[in-house]
Structures are given as structure tokens and as C-alpha cells.
């Protein structure tokens, strides 16, 4: 393994991302199907924000148990609340309470568990609140995609924009799938996380596309390599960069997730960072294995690049013939072919892979 690591470290790595695009498409299609299935079967576990309800938080005093807390609250609200440990606190979720009921519950738990009443936090969410958040999130999503399409079309070209957006949708679907299958709660903070993923998912793609644009800019004059091969080289080239940027982006999120889970228990920090974490991992995969292959698929339909691909194929075929002839002629290994031909053979080999 040290070999791989040091190669990674040097940035000297050569993985055929684009050539294996059928594999990636298959994998992504499978993951997306599983995700959609998960959402359809399990549905998303919506947080209290989406159904309306009340949440109370107060310090966990020694000797208090879940059962005690549940009992105390049930006596007042008349139904079984959900009681969770959240860091140093109890978190009690009930159906939506009005102001009077909230203060009654606050008084009761304050008396029973010896906390001060003003130290009992409460949150009351109207039943339509979450819907509104979601509604806004959808609008935000649509506007964002449009803005990004426009921007990338101007900064790069529409094919790149389209590829980036497809990768983005891919990320969102899979992240939703992860939430559906694991049963993680979806809260407004989660939606926020989803929306943020968009930015990150694109960040990587933008870095890769920028490289592809540069590499393919002076392609075509010679018939050395196809667009596909050039894109793959660009991708290999930026692989280290992509991995590094993804890792440095994920590290702080992981830190928040860690703190949010261990120190605070449930809450904004955890919800947000979890969505970001899942989304970023998926986003890293998709910017390498989805965005670029799709771009290549789109590009190879362009007459210019198709023509190039033909020329390259023809050249390679003749080169291969020549090489075969050389082998036949004097029995020597192809290694004997020198100079730039060497490169061509490398490419042909890679293409077969």
C-alpha cells in the first residue's frame, strides 16, 4: 500500500475514470434507484419542524430517568412525549402546545427535576412552518440551479453546466436515499445542509472542468488523443487536488458532526453537519465519476471531437499495424518503438482497459 500512498502523494496516479464510465453510470444508476426506492418505501423521517410540535430542553440532573421525564410531561400534555438525551440535556418532543401549556410543562419539570424554570428552553413550531421551509428550499434549489447553469454556461459552456447539474441532482438523490434508509431525521437544518452541498458538489466539478478546458483547449491539431483521453488525463491530473479539497472541506464538517453528536446531542449542529458530511462524500464521488464522464459523453457527440476520435483511432490502428509488423519483422518487443510512438502505444493500451 505505501506504493499507492506515495503515488497519491506525488500526484502520480493514473486511473481511467472516463473510460470506465459505463461502470460509473451503472453504479450511480443503481445507487439512485436504491435511493429512490428508499424514499418511496421508507419515506424521510421528518423532524418536528415539519409536523408542528413543541420541543423542550433542560439540563439532565443526576438521578432523572427517561421514564420520569416522560411521566412528568405526559401528566400535563396528555400524550406520550418523545424523550431523548441530548448532550447534557433532556430533549422532550411533544405535539404542538400553546403558550400556557408550554409554561405549565416548564413549571412542572422545573419543580420535579430541580432546574430553574427559565432554564427550560422551548420551541414551538406551527404545523405549516416546515412546509414553508421546504417550499422555500425548493424555490432556492430551482433558482440556484438556474443561476449556476447560467454562470457555468458563461464561464465554461453549456455542456459543462449540464454535466455539473446532473451530478448535483445525483448527489441530492443519493443523499436523500441515505437519509431514507438510515432513518436520520430531516429538519430545516438538514435542508440547509442539502442546499449547501450544492455549492460544494460544484466546487470540485468546477476545478476539474477548469483543467479539462485548459487541456482540451489545444487539443485537436494533432491526432494524438481523443477528447475522452484528454479529459481523463485532466481528471487524473486534478485527482489529488480534488481529493485534497474534498478532504479539507469534509474535515471541519466532520469536526462539527463530532462535536454536535457527542457534546450537544440532537440539534442544529448535528443535523446540518450530517447532511453536509453525507453530501460531500457523495459529491466527491460524483464530481470525479459522474460529472466528467457525462461531460465527455456530451462532448464526444460534437462533430469536432468525433472527427478527432476517428483520426486518433485511424492513427492508432496504423500504429498498431506498424508495431505488429515490427514485431513480425524482427521479433523485437514493441518497446523498441521509440519516441512519441511510445506515447501512442500507452494510450492504445489504456483505451483497451
Amino acid at each position: 500500500m505505501p506504493g499507492v500512498i506515495s503515488r497519491l502523494y506525488r500526484g502520480d496516479i493514473d486511473i481511467d475514470f472516463v473510460g470506465k464510465r459505463r461502470l460509473w453510470y451503472g453504479l450511480s444508476a443503481f445507487l439512485m434507484a436504491v435511493s429512490i426506492l428508499g424514499v418511496l418505501i421508507h419515506g424521510l423521517t421528518l423532524g418536528v419542524e415539519f409536523q408542528g410540535g413543541s420541543v423542550l430542553d433542560f439540563a439532565r440532573t443526576p438521578g432523572s430517568s427517561v421514564e420520569q421525564v416522560r411521566e412528568t410531561v405526559r401528566d400535563i400534555v396528555g400524550h406520550d412525549p418523545i424523550v431523548q438525551e441530548a448532550g447534557r440535556n433532556w430533549r422532550v418532543t411533544t405535539q404542538s402546545l400553546d403558550g400556557d401549556e408550554v409554561s405549565k410543562v416548564q413549571t412542572a419539570v422545573a419543580e420535579r427535576f430541580g432546574v430553574r424554570q427559565e432554564q427550560v428552553s422551548s420551541q414551538v413550531i406551527g404545523a405549516t412552518w416546515g412546509g414553508e421551509v421546504a417550499h422555500k428550499a425548493w424555490i432556492g434549489l430551482a433558482v440556484f440551479m438556474l443561476a449556476i447553469m447560467l454562470y457555468l454556461s458563461v464561464a465554461f459552456e453549456w455542456r459543462m453546466a449540464l454535466a455539473a447539474i446532473v451530478a448535483l441532482v445525483h448527489d441530492l438523490v443519493i443523499t436523500a436515499g441515505v437519509y431514507a434508509w438510515t432513518g436520520f431525521e430531516v429538519t430545516p437544518a438538514t435542508m440547509l445542509g442539502f442546499l449547501t452541498i450544492l455549492g460544494y458538489s460544484l466546487y470540485d466539478a468546477v476545478v476539474v472542468f477548469d483543467m479539462i478546458k485548459e487541456v482540451t483547449g489545444n487539443l485537436g491539431a494533432s491526432a494524438k488523443m481523443t477528447y475522452t483521453q484528454a479529459a481523463n488525463d485532466a481528471l487524473s491530473h486534478t485527482l489529488i487536488r480534488s481529493l485534497n479539497t474534498s478532504l479539507t472541506a469534509i474535515l471541519p464538517v466532520a469536526a462539527i458532526l463530532f462535536v454536535g453528536t457527542t457534546l450537544l446531542g440532537a440539534g442544529t449542529l448535528k443535523d446540518l453537519s450530517l447532511a453536509l458530511f453525507v453530501g460531500m462524500v457523495v459529491g466527491t464521488y460524483s464530481s470525479l465519476c459522474v460529472a466528467t464522464p457525462i461531460l465527455v459523453t456530451l462532448k464526444e457527440r460534437e462533430p469536432k471531437w468525433r472527427a478527432l476520435a476517428k483520426r486518433v483511432a485511424a492513427k492508432q490502428a496504423s500504429a498498431a499495424k506498424a508495431a505488429a509488423a515490427a514485431v513480425r519483422d524482427d521479433g523485437a518487443a514493441p518497446a523498441a518503438v521509440a519516441g512519441s510512438r511510445n506515447v501512442t502505444i500507452t494510450d492504445a493500451k489504456r483505451r483497451k482497459r
Partner: protein, 608 residues
Amino acid sequence: MAPPKSSQSRPGRTLLTLLALILAMGATVALQKAFVPKFGLDLAGGTTVTLTPVTLDGKAPSQESLDRAVNIIRARVNGTGISDAEVAKANENIVIQIPGVGQSEALKLVSTTAELRMRQVLAMAPAKMEPQQLPTEAPAPDPGMSPSTMPSAARKPSGAPSGGPGATASTTPAGRALASALTAPTPSPAARTGHRAGARSGAKGGAKRGAGSDSGSEGGPAADAGGGATPSAPPSPESADDPLAGQDTSGIDPALLTEFRKIDCTAKNRGQGAQDDPDKQIVACSDDGTARYILDKAAVQGTEISGATAGTDPTTGEWIVQVSFKSKGASQFADITRRITSLPAPRNQLANVLDGVVVVAPTIEEAIPGGSARISGSFNQVTATELADQLKYGALPLKFKQGSVESVSSTLGQDQLRGGLISGALGLLVVVIYLLLYYRGLGVIGVASLGCATIVTYLTVAVISYNAGFRLSLPHIVGLVVSIGITADSFIVYFERVRDEIKEGHRTLRSAVEVAWRRARRTILVADAVMFIAAVVLYFLAVGGVAGFAFAMGLTTLIDIVVVFLFTKPLMTIAARLRFFAKGHKLSGLDAERMGRTSPAEQTLQEA
């Protein structure tokens, strides 16, 4: 591009520019002693209410109506005596933030859309009866402002009414009633024109009579109101002190009389937001705190108003408010106007009660049977529109529902703050470790850049917190921590570019740094632009804490650009001159072994 000579002489200057920027911000922070930014309620403890407007057609409410709603809610919150409350517009929502918890009662009042009710005035008096020196108590005729005893402001109005008929001493407290009566004009049938002047003077007279005497039952006009009889001597005697002296109190609940005597309409909290029972008589203050009333049971409910528009009188050009009623309301309105128009003042006034206070109490000059009334008087466009809206929608120009109410105790807030800070420190630490392990010498530059970004971010937050009322909340902190990644990404893009250039082999470090910068710059700008677009979209389309998060993201993206341009790049240029980096020391992150051989793929690229 720029010749290498000049670009290499620049880094020092660029760094100095940044240093000056940091020092300037640091000095601002130090001078203002604003070292710790203000915290939002989720960190400091407090209650946050988000109100969502509900419109009939589902369209977004106009900004003006939102602004007006914000002002009314702010007035209500202040009226309940809560200090330090903040009421602000957040996109389409209104967010109320109140420090401290246990304010749920107050909050209930805040967002309710009070319904308008029309009630006959049974008795009326100036706001306050306490003995007063004329000049000090004389009101400044600014309606709606909290009444204050500002002698300087008071002198003017005390002089002005003296010219009026019968306005001498008694006008002082009644002056407010008069002022309100002036803005409280008379309704009249829509068909009628040209009685405007009459209506105004009628209103004036009516109000005065209302405040002063009641059909001459007892006491002269000046005898009752505000102890006007003896203006020079502070009048404290019971008779002069009784606001009801000289008024017909028949048919009024005795308990209300007591309440009426006690009520202080100049107080900050004069019952705004109180929900009045339509089937009971009530005591209420005028909107601007200048008069108090005993009012009969509701005669017409605001729900019976079908429309109200502000407009100008076609003949006179004067601003008026046109009110129309639904069928039931029209007959109710016809009944009440017919009944009271012939009564002596103040019983011929019909008070419009909204939000617990009397917004307008016009004298009814005649029976109005047509289901449509016209209110005229000294309106301008603003006041006419406001009254029309009040009649139409109730107090708030919009209906609101409480989207969420969140109250955070101070300990939970501290926990969250601690959690946020710890995760920030932890996130920064792991990124620093990673940068150092992976990039070694270059990593030091990256870490220095991160440190620089941290300082700039801290200073920016401190400065805008103190000067622009920015409050740091948990979503902000999360946004800032997440953004560590973005900032580090920019360095990585640049560093990798530098390494690429060196790997290509034909460049010295100095030139590699410059060439790499030109290429990396574009990538960084494009990628940051994407992040910034995300932040802007989130900021403007988000609900609740999302906006805070987006703000933090947008801010750090900008800071990232500043730091990369003004710090990382010049630092790289300087570092490239050092032997340590230029010779590819083992720990520099640029050593030969590290760079490896150039791979065939790269050869191809170069050849291409």
C-alpha cells in the same frame, strides 16, 4: 502579463496593504472595545418568534405593508414594557427577538391581528388628570408618539390653541383630544360633497364639547376638563380631577367608571393589543394616548367592512377614506348612525377600536343608510392610506401566523456556543494538521493563510457586530467553520498548480509561482463565484437560520479571495526566494522525491 521584475517587487507592498487593512480593523475594534461580538439569542438565551404573513391570494405581501407591520409590532412589543426587543423583516417574514425567556404571554399579543370594532362613545376625557403645569403637560401634537413631558416641545401647542374658540386653560389636556379629533374626522355619506370644512370644524367642536361638557348638564365647558378652571394653580381638587365630571354616566357599568378614572392613557402600555369583548362595554385610550373613552358594546364588527380605500375628493383634492359595508354591516351601521347622530356629544361619536385602542372617533353628523361612508378631515396620503388599511385589515396590514417560537435558555445557549467554538477549533486544527502533513513547507504558508483568514474573519465579525447590529448566532458559526474548507481549498488549488508547474520541469520556482498563480487565480475565482452564488441564493430565499448560515458563507468566500490575493500569493512569491523552497528542501513540500517523475500522461500534455 506583468514582467517578473515588477511582480516580484510587489509582494511586500501587497502584504503591507493587507496589514494596514487588518490594523485599521483592529484599531476600530480596539477603540470601540468591541472585542466580543454580540451573540444571537440562540447563543445568549432568549426568545425568537418568526411570523409568516398570510395573504388571501397567496402572493407575497408588499414591502410597504411589511414595513408597516414591523412598525406596529415593534410598538406593541415596546408597549408591553419589554426592553431590548428587536423586530425585523427577514425576507417575507417578520422575526421578533426578545432576550430572556418566559415572554410567551407578551408574544401572544404581538402577532394577533386585532379586529376592528365600531363602538359608540359613552364618555370621553383627556388622557390624564394629574395636576399639571400648563406648559409642561401641554402635548406636542404628534400623534402616536409616547407622551412625554418635554417642556420645549410643549410650548408651541400651548400657544397655538389659545387662538381657538374657548381654548384657554382647558385646552391643555384636552388639546390632545382636540389633536386626535382633528385627525379623527367625520364620516359622511359618500354622495355628499363640500361639507368638508364643516366636518372638520364640527369634529373640532365635537371633540371639545365631548371633552368638556355634556349637553350642559352641569358645569361650564371649561370647568371640567383638566381642571381648566384655575390654570395657574395646580388643580388637585376632586371635582376637577374627576374626568367624568359633567358627563352623563347613565347606562355605564359602574366598574368601568372606576376603571375610567384610574386609567392612564399617557402610559407606554395603554392597552395596545388587548382583545376587547364585543359584547361588553369597555374603557379604552386613544391611539396616540391623548384621550380616554368609555365605549358601548360593539355596534359593527370590522368583519362587516367590505372595503376601505384612500383617495382624494374630486372637487377639493382633499384626502379622504371611503368605507363600504357588507349588507349586514350596512344595516348595523345605518342603525347606529341613525340612533346616535342626534345625541349630545360625545355620545354622537362612533369610535373605531382596533388593537385595544381607539384609532378614530368621528362625530356622526347624520344617519348614513347607504352602506358606504366617507371619512374626511385633515388627512394626508400617508394617514389616509393607513386608516384605510386599518379599516380593511385590522391593526396589522397583514395577517400573520406564528411560524415558530423558539426560546433558548442561557445555559443551552452557552452549550451551543461552546459546541460551536469547539468544533471550530477542532475543524481548524485537523485542517492545519492535514496541510502540514501533506504540504510540509507549503503547508506552513497555508496555515499562515488560514490564520490570516481567521484574524480577518474575527475582525470583520467584531466590526459589523458593533457597527451594523450583526449578531453572531449558531448558524453563523457553523457557516464559518464549514468555510474553513473553502478557504483551504483555494490554497490547495494554488499549491497543486505550483507543483504542476515544477513537475513540468522547465521552470524555476520563482517563475513557477507566477505562472501557477495566473492559472490558479482563474480556478479560484470561478470556484469561489459558485460558492458565492450559492450563498446569495440561500440568503435571499431562506427561512430562519438559513440566512445566517448563508451570510457567513458569503462573507468567508469574500474573505477567502482577499486572503488568497493579498496574503497567500505574495507570501508564495517571497517564499520562492528562500533557499529552503527554491532548492526543494526535503521538508519544503517541493522536494524532488515528492514531485516524482513526470508521468507519460503529463508528457503527452506538454507535447500536445
